[in-house]
């Protein structure tokens, strides 16, 4: 199954060069093990725009949908057979990016 992994951060653009090197090495390992689906860093949440297209006119609101002390500074989508494998992999991922992570199962695609 697939898991979304959010990288938890509380400071803007706080990544370092050492972290970037460790993350690259970790990503190579994910790819080699067949666990890689997707990964990306995210711009600061102040750059977010909330969109509401449900009405006649679209409404755009500046900022993130929820003000929080912590937010996602990046994400992975990984493929793992079960939670134990995912937890073991992302424990290494947490060490590589030097941040806490939130791991969340993705719903299986409709059959």
């Amino acid at each position: 199954m697939q898991y979304l992994v959010n990288v938890i951060d509380d400071r803007s653009e706080s990544g370092t060069a050492e972290e970037a090197i460790a993350i690259d090495a970790f990503n190579e390992k994910l790819i080699a093990g067949g666990h890689w689906v997707f990964a990306a860093g995210l711009a600061d949440p102040t750059a977010s725009t909330v969109i509401d297209g449900r009405g006649d006119e679209p409404v755009f609101t500046d900022g993130p949908f929820a003000e929080a002390k912590e937010w996602a500074a990046g994400l992975w989508v990984i493929e793992a057979p079960d939670l134990d494998v995912a937890l073991a992999l992302m424990t290494e991922g947490s060490r590589a990016c030097n941040r806490r992570l939130e791991l969340r199962p993705m719903l299986p695609p409709p059959e």
Binding site: P81, D82, L83, P105
Partner: protein, 420 residues
């Protein structure tokens, strides 16, 4: 002479009590096995739990009339399996493909000897580190222990609906997050076992030091259940020293239960306990477990050291505090938590005098301000040093924080003896 015969009117009542005993015994020995077998077969804890409960209800209905089957465990597993298949058929009539998928399992032959592993898998899934501790405790008591939701709710002083929701949420997380139904790999086993032991010890402690002003000070159903589950785990993993250690620890604490609370509901400290009330069979079993671990020659873990300390407390006519301090020295090296350092300080106070004990206790003070035994231990030491005003303050702090009714009663009497 008439041949001796039982009065016919005795027969049914004797049989009813036999059946009731057989049901109780089957529930104790077979519940976890039935749930575990079905969980593997159907890959769904909900179905396993409900079908097991239905099978036991069916047994309660049929056994009194039909008699106890020769192999109650097999009867219960077969009945539960049928109930589960019925439910899957019922629920999947709208979705033929789903039904086919579920019933593929139906024809699968079961590997021999995998049953015990199933119970172990069940224990590890209930105590998975991705679940919150209260959820682990509730799931373990329900799925492995076979306690009902109202029983667990009343043991933890919450509403039935709250406890039911907690268990449902935990099962949903297991299914949605892909927690696997398997015994952890060898390299992960020590950490995962210690996670299971933490759950079992919390269940035991909640029974042993029950919290809440209106509850019984000791809740035997929880201590007994924790011991039973630890025995089961030890049966499944007999070579694990920490499991043996925890079992020994629980038995040596449980052995003193009757002496620990006075008839008036007050806590009785170890030194003042009536040793005639101790359960000598449990003490002998606990001592044997501790000796077996010592004989292994392997470095003891946390629970083995705690068991050894309790073996010293229950050996001879009085505690040999020198040995207790030596064991706490070892424990502090592997677990330097403030609570362990507090226990060591208390032992030093008994061994080398109250000044030394107090000096050590005050060093952990900042971390244990909210912990009632810290203030109670300080009060005892200050009292031995005749520092009355500080003793009163320490008792007051302990009384304000303590949650166990027997502990509060004991502390209040100690405080009252000092006057104001």
């Amino acid at each position: 002479m008439q041949p001796p015969s039982r009065a016919p009117s005795d027969a049914p009542s004797a049989r009813v009590s036999d059946v009731r005993d057989a049901l109780t015994r089957a529930h104790r020995t077979e519940w976890a096995r039935v749930v575990a077998t079905l969980a593997r077969r159907f890959g769904n804890l909900d179905i396993a739990e409900d079908a097991a409960a239905e099978a036991f209800a069916t047994a309660a209905e049929h056994w009194p009339a039909d008699g106890v089957p020769p192999a109650p465990g097999a009867w219960l597993t077969t009945t539960a399996t049928r109930k589960a298949i019925d439910r899957i058929r019922r629920e999947s009539t709208r979705d033929a493909r789903h039904r086919e998928a579920m019933l593929v399992y139906d024809t699968e032959t079961e590997p021999l000897g995998a049953i015990d592993d199933d119970r172990l898998r069940l224990i590890f899934i209930c105590c998975h580190p991705a679940l919150a501790m209260p959820a682990r405790i509730a799931l373990t008591l329900r799925l492995v222990g076979g306690l009902t939701v109202p029983e667990i709710a009343s043991a933890f002083l919450v509403q039935d609906t709250t406890m039911g929701a907690r268990i449902t949420r935990a099962k949903s997380k297991i299914a949605a997050s892909g927690i696997p139904y398997r015994v952890p790999a060898a390299q992960d086993l020590p950490v995962r076992v210690s996670g299971v032991l933490a759950v079992l010890f919390l269940i035991f402690n909640e029974g042993y030091l029950a919290s809440g002003p209106d509850t019984a000070p000791v809740r035997e159903e929880l201590t007994a259940e924790a011991i039973r589950l630890t025995r089961l785990l030890r049966e499944l993993l007999p070579d694990n020293g920490e499991i043996t250690g925890l079992l020994g620890l629980m038995l040596l604490i449980e052995a003193r239960r009757r002496a620990r609370v006075s008839p008036s509901g007050e806590l009785v400290p170890l030194a003042e306990q009536d040793r005639a009330l101790w359960d000598m069979a449990l003490i002998a079993e606990g001592h044997a477990l501790v000796r077996a671990r010592l004989a292994s020659g392997l470095a003891p873990g946390r629970y083995q050291l705690l068991a050894a300390i309790n073996a010293v407390h229950t050996d001879g006519d009085a505690t040999d505090w020198t040995q207790v301090v030596a064991l706490y020295d070892q424990l502090v090296r592997i677990d330097p938590s403030p609570i362990v350092r507090l226990s060591r300080a208390i032992a030093v106070g008994e061994c080398d005098g109250p000044e030394l004990g107090l000096a050590l206790i005050d060093r952990v003070g900042a971390e244990l301000e909210e912990y009632p035994p810290f203030h109670a231990a300080r009060a005892q030491l200050l009292r031995r040093l005749d520092r009355d005003a500080e003793t009163r303050e320490a008792y007051d702090a302990a009384i304000a924080l303590a949650e166990n009714s027997a502990e509060v009663a004991y502390l209040k009497r100690q405080r009252a003896e000092l006057g104001s």
